[in-house]
C-alpha cells in the first residue's frame, strides 16, 4: 500500500503499522532507523497517533522528534 510520510509517498506491505511506514521512510532517506521510537506522529488533521496504529492506504502522516523535557 502507498501512503505519505512527511509529504513523501512511500510503499509498504499490507498490514503494516505506522512504525513500519516510518522505518521505511527513514531507510529510504538513509537516516538512522533507531530514531523512529523518539518520534511524535500526527495524522492529516493534526491528531496524535501512536506508532502501533495501523497504517492506511493513501493516508498522510507527519512526524517530528519528541521534544525533550
Amino acid at each position: 500500500m502507498k501512503l505519505k510520510v512527511n509529504r513523501k509517498t512511500i510503499e509498504i506491505f499490507e498490514g503494516a503499522l505506522v512504525r513500519h511506514a516510518l522505518l521505511r521512510y527513514f531507510a529510504v532517506k538513509g537516516l538512522d532507523v533507531r530514531q523512529v521510537d523518539t518520534l511524535t506522529v500526527t495524522d492529516r488533521w493534526g491528531h496524535e497517533i501512536d506508532l502501533d496504529a495501523p497504517a492506511s492506504q493513501h493516508s498522510t502522516i507527519t512526524f517530528r522528534v519528541k521534544s525533550e523535557k
Partner: protein
C-alpha cells in the same frame, strides 16, 4: 391575589418536574487497550471513583482489547488476563476489534463465554458451529435512560478484519454502514443511540454523515488521540491512542427522551497516582505467570554464535510460513549463547523481544539478493541469516560492501535468480529494506516469537552447534 399566590406556589413543582425530565448518562470509554495489563489497577481506580459520583456509569471498550503483550496473549487460555481484568473493572460491553480474532474462532468463543460483558458487532456473522455468541446491539437502562449500543469492526482489503484469514473461516462480514442501517429502529426505542466503533477515526467521520439517528460514536482502531471529542454531522466522536494512555469520560444530557448536550473529556491513566490494590494483585499474578518457565525444547549442544541462533529463528519462520526461503537480520538476534539446557518461553521472548509479525513476499532471486545486501549494510556489515538456501558473499577490500552474492538451494545447486521464491521474514526487516521489488508482501498475522515457540515445541530437542547459512569469500 389568590391567583398570584397559586402561581407562585406552583413554580417549584414545575421546576422539579422539568428537572426530572433532564437526566445525565455517564460513560467511561477505552479503545485499543492491547493488553495493557499494567494500567488496569489505575483504570479500576478511575472507574471506581467515577462510579461513586455516577452509580450508573457505563463502561465500554471499542475493541482490540488484546494482542500487545505476551503475558496476556500467550496465557494458557490466550488473552484471558484481559478478560478477567475487564470483568473486575465492570465493563458492560465491547465491540470486536480485528485483533479479537487473533486466537481463532475457538479462542474467541472461549473468551466470550468467560466475559461478564457483551460483545457487540453488527457486521460479523459467525456460523452457529463456531459457538461465538455476539449480538449486533444491546439496550442498557442507565438510570432510567434507555441507551442502545451497536458495534462494528473495520474490514481489510479482503473483506475481513485484519487478522489471519484462518482465524475467521466460518465468519462472514458485511460492510459496517450496510449493517448499521438495519438498526435504525433503535432511534424510536431508545433515548440514546451509540455506535461502538472499531472502524477508525477517518471512517467514523465519513460514516457520521449517514447516521443522523446516532448520537455518539465511541471509536477505536486508528489509535487517534482526540481532545475530548469532536462533533461531526451532529455526532460526538471520541477516540484515544492505544494501551490506555488515556480514556474518555462522556456526559450526555437527555431531556424528554432526546440528547440535548454532549461533552467528553480525556483522563490520562498513566498520570493517575492511585490504584485499586486488588486489581494490582491480580495484574501481578498474571505478570509472574509460571507458564513462562515452561520448557519448549531441550538444547542438546551449546551454541555460541549469533549465526547459530539466527539459523534456529529462520528455520522456525520457514516452517511457520511453509515458504521457500526465510530471512532474519543479524541485529534482530538478541543473544549469542545458549548452554545445554531446556529452552523456555522466557528464553524465546528474550531471543526475539520485538513482537514482530512474519511477512511473506514473492520475489525473484535477484530481488532477494538486493534485500540481503541492504540488510548487510543496515547491520553494519554483518550477514543476515537465511534458511531454505545458503548465501555466498564476495566482499570488497574494506569488507563493508557486498560485491556479489551467490545463492545455493538445499541441494547445493545455484538458485535460478530469475525465478520467483516465497520469502518470509519479519515486518521490521521488510520495512527497512526499500529495494525495487515488485511485491511488498503482506503480514501473515503470525508472531515471529510465536513461530519460534511452536517450532521448538514440535522439535523437542535441538542442536544448532556449527550451523551456518553464510559463506564469505574474499577476493
Amino acid at each position: 391575589m389568590r391567583k398570584l399566590l397559586f402561581v407562585l406556589l406552583m413554580v417549584p413543582f414545575a421546576f422539579a418536574s422539568w428537572a426530572q425530565n433532564k437526566k445525565e448518562v455517564h460513560i467511561l470509554s477505552a479503545n485499543d487497550m492491547h493488553a495493557a495489563i499494567e494500567c488496569f489497577p489505575r483504570l479500576c481506580f478511575v472507574a471506581d471513583s467515577l462510579r461513586t459520583l455516577y452509580p450508573d456509569l457505563l463502561i465500554l471498550s471499542a475493541g482490540d482489547n488484546r494482542s500487545g503483550d505476551p503475558i496476556n496473549d500467550m496465557y494458557e487460555i490466550p488473552a484471558y488476563p484481559m478478560v478477567s481484568l475487564m470483568n473486575i473493572v465492570g465493563f458492560h460491553a465491547t465491540t470486536l476489534g480485528n485483533h479479537e480474532f487473533d486466537s481463532g474462532q475457538e479462542g474467541l468463543a472461549k473468551l466470550i463465554n468467560m466475559s461478564d460483558f457483551s460483545y457487540l458487532c453488527a457486521n460479523a456473522h459467525p456460523a452457529e458451529s463456531t459457538g461465538i455468541h455476539i449480538r449486533p446491539y444491546q439496550k442498557f437502562d442507565v438510570g432510567g435512560v434507555s441507551v442502545g449500543i451497536i458495534g462494528a469492526v473495520a474490514l481489510g482489503p479482503i473483506g475481513k478484519p485484519e487478522s489471519h484469514p484462518k482465524n475467521m473461516t466460518d465468519i462472514t462480514f458485511t460492510q459496517p454502514l450496510e449493517a448499521l442501517q438495519q438498526y435504525q429502529f433503535l432511534r424510536k426505542e431508545c433515548d440514546v443511540v451509540l455506535f461502538l466503533s472499531h472502524i477508525g477515526y477517518e471512517d467514523d467521520v465519513k460514516i457520521s454523515a449517514s447516521l443522523p439517528w446516532v448520537d455518539l460514536i465511541v471509536g477505536g482502531h486508528s489509535h487517534t488521540q482526540l481532545n475530548g471529542g469532536e462533533i461531526h454531522n451532529g455526532l460526538l466522536i471520541t477516540q484515544n491512542v492505544n494501551r490506555l494512555a488515556r480514556v474518555t469520560h462522556i456526559t450526555l444530557t437527555v431531556e424528554n427522551g432526546k440528547v440535548v448536550d454532549k461533552r467528553a473529556e480525556n483522563i490520562a491513566i498513566k498520570g493517575v497516582k492511585r490504584e485499586n490494590k486488588v486489581v494490582g494483585k491480580l495484574a501481578d499474578y498474571f505478570t509472574n505467570n509460571p507458564a513462562f518457565d515452561e520448557v519448549l525444547a531441550v538444547n542438546d549442544k551449546p551454541v555460541s554464535t549469533y549465526e547459530e541462533l539466527g539459523c534456529l529463528m529462520t528455520d522456525a519462520y520457514l516452517q511457520a510460513a511453509n515458504a521457500d526461503i526465510s530471512l532474519q537480520n543479524y541485529g534482530g538476534v538478541r543473544y549469542d549463547t545458549l548452554s545445554v539446557r531446556g529452552i523456555n518461553v522466557k528464553d524465546v521472548l528474550q531471543l526475539d523481544p520485538f513482537q514482530n509479525n512474519l511477512v511473506e513476499m514473492t520475489v525473484t532471486g535477484n530481488e532477494f539478493i538486493d534485500i540481503l545486501k541492504m540488510c548487510f549494510v543496515n547491520d553494519q556489515a554483518r550477514f543476515p541469516l537465511i534458511s531454505g538456501a545458503t548465501a555466498e558473499y564476495v566482499l570488497d577490500d574494506t569488507k563493508q560492501q557486498v560485491k556479489k552474492v551467490v545463492l545455493y538451494g538445499p541441494d547445493g545447486k545455484k538458485l535460478n535468480l530469475k525465478k520467483t521464491y516465497r520469502v518470509v521474514t519479519n515486518n521490521y526487516v521488510q520495512a527497512i529494506t526499500p529495494t525495487n521489488r515488485k511485491d511488498e508482501g503482506h503480514d501473515l498475522g503470525i508472531g515471529s516469537a510465536e513461530a519460534i515457540m511452536q517450532f521448538l515445541k514440535a522439535k523437542g530437542h535441538i542442536d544448532y552447534q556449527g550451523k551456518t547459512c553464510v559463506k564469505e569469500v574474499r577476493k
